[in-house]
Point group: C2
Chain length 282, copies 2
């Protein structure tokens, strides 16, 4: 990645600026809720998938966390990360004391950070004292309903998430993300149109088959599924921030019709567009 | 501010979600550069105003920082915050050792966080050791050109900025920001149109004069100046993320013509739209 510019101050001091990272600059975070709880055998769920991600820290006790491809035994002194939109279920056989939070971590395009990256789901913490103090500060900031509280929660959340990224930072760098920039740029300005795999592949000079394969390898999602997520994300913004009618939003986001819009939206977000607007607009 | 929803998990555990904060959720951060430097008498600048904000921490020595309405003497053990788009100048009479960084802190609408808030420009740090370690980690992360580096810098930057917000968190809460939501929502969907003060005032049921007065009191900027900033911010995004021509961008952002677009853009960003695109698109 190149430095985009060099600047100079009075006295001839020079410095170089770091360019915006095409995927991570403009990432945003929001903690929905967080608690410390002692849970018993009644803590048991059928398979669920949520639009938010989850972070658990085990203080004491045990429980079982199952993914479709992996079974984890929750243990004291470990952190667990459940990305958004991933099916999982849990059960507790005796008791467990957890600090936990639900959060959204999104890249500039609204795609869940941990959906895009292959990070570990379980991590032994280096210092229990440090992580517990970090988590406690996050929970304390839940009580502060102000801009300060919002930013404080983001700071504490980042502190808890960084080790997951550091632990596997190779995977963040595995592909040259910059090579996908023409695709992301094209998407940004053509999302409202009917977009085919061929026109996306063309932006990188690849055949549709080859493009689909490398995209899926690098982002763990097919290009057309990614396009749908982008459309839904845009729709979420328009639902919250405007008074536009559903058919207008459907149109601006490139859905073929409002029926298709509602169906895809419900599938990805878990609620209908109307319910979503109702929840986010007071 | 109300909680938007209550959720329930297996076993009957209940929790409440914190709603998105209309201004602070989706805030994003980007550190452009950061260094530790020993500076001498040659560190001297004419009055400058930049599109990024600055943070200084003084380790040793002294210098003078002048704003249009205030003169500060930079002192060891203090942090200094210069918001974006604020005229200032500095001079050093002997020598000074600084840790400093340039950064952008933007609310979801692209407006500089510290342009909107009245926070102190000078702050005595509680623990020099802690702040120095925080700043050192920020500087170390400048060398890491990856998503991890980007997020680590954000985490460290937030750590350094929080005391500025906490110190004056009353000012964050001074006005009920939620009451402005209809205005911000209206803006989001009508930015490309010719917008008058009267139509914005109408969203809050106020007279144009009254609206202008309270808006300026609460955001330290007139409503029409705010609209221009939003237009320029949208133009910046379109310049970076699309191949749209200037006249198209000018049109989509609600400028009356490309001449007006270029003039306002240059005035606010410091460079022409073409130069800006050149810097940000590799």
């Amino acid at each position: 990645m190149d430095f985009i510019s060099q600047e100079e101050a009075g006295g001839g001091y020079r410095w170089r600026n770091i360019p915006y990272d095409p995927l991570f600059s403009g990432a945003s975070f929001h903690v929905l809720c967080g608690y410390r709880m002692q849970l018993g055998r009644e803590w048991k769920n059928q398979s669920v998938r949520t639009h938010y991600a989850r972070l658990y820290y085990v203080e004491e006790g045990e429980a079982v966390l199952e993914f479709d491809d992996e079974v984890l035994r929750l243990r004291p002194g470990y952190l667990y990360l459940i990305p958004s939109n991933v099916f999982h279920r849990h059960r507790c056989e005796e008791s467990i004391t957890l600090m936990w939070c639900h959060f959204r971590a999104e890249m500039h395009d609204g795609i869940g950070l941990f959906e895009m990256l292959r990070v570990p789901r379980e991590l032994k913490v280096e210092s229990r004292q440090e992580v517990e103090s970090n988590f406690r500060e996050l929970l304390a900031a839940m009580e502060v309903h102000s801009g300060w509280g919002e930013l404080k929660r983001t700071q504490q959340l980042l502190g808890l998430l960084m080790p997951f990224l550091a632990a596997d930072s190779d995977s963040l760098l595995r592909h040259d993300r910059a090579s996908y920039l023409p695709v992301f740029r094209y998407l940004d300005s053509h999302l409202h149109e009917g977009l085919g795999l061929d026109v996306l592949a063309e932006q990188m000079g690849l055949s549709p088959e080859h493009f689909c394969r490398v995209f899926k390898r690098d982002f763990q999602v097919t290009p057309m599924r990614y396009v749908m997520r982008r459309r839904v994300h845009l729709a979420q913004q328009l639902l919250c921030q405007t008074n536009l009618k559903h058919y207008d939003i459907s149109d601006r986001c490139g859905f073929s019709d409002t029926y298709h819009f509602s169906k895809v939206f419900k599938q990805m977000v878990g609620v209908t567009p109307s319910a979503y607007r109702g929840q986010h607009v007071s």
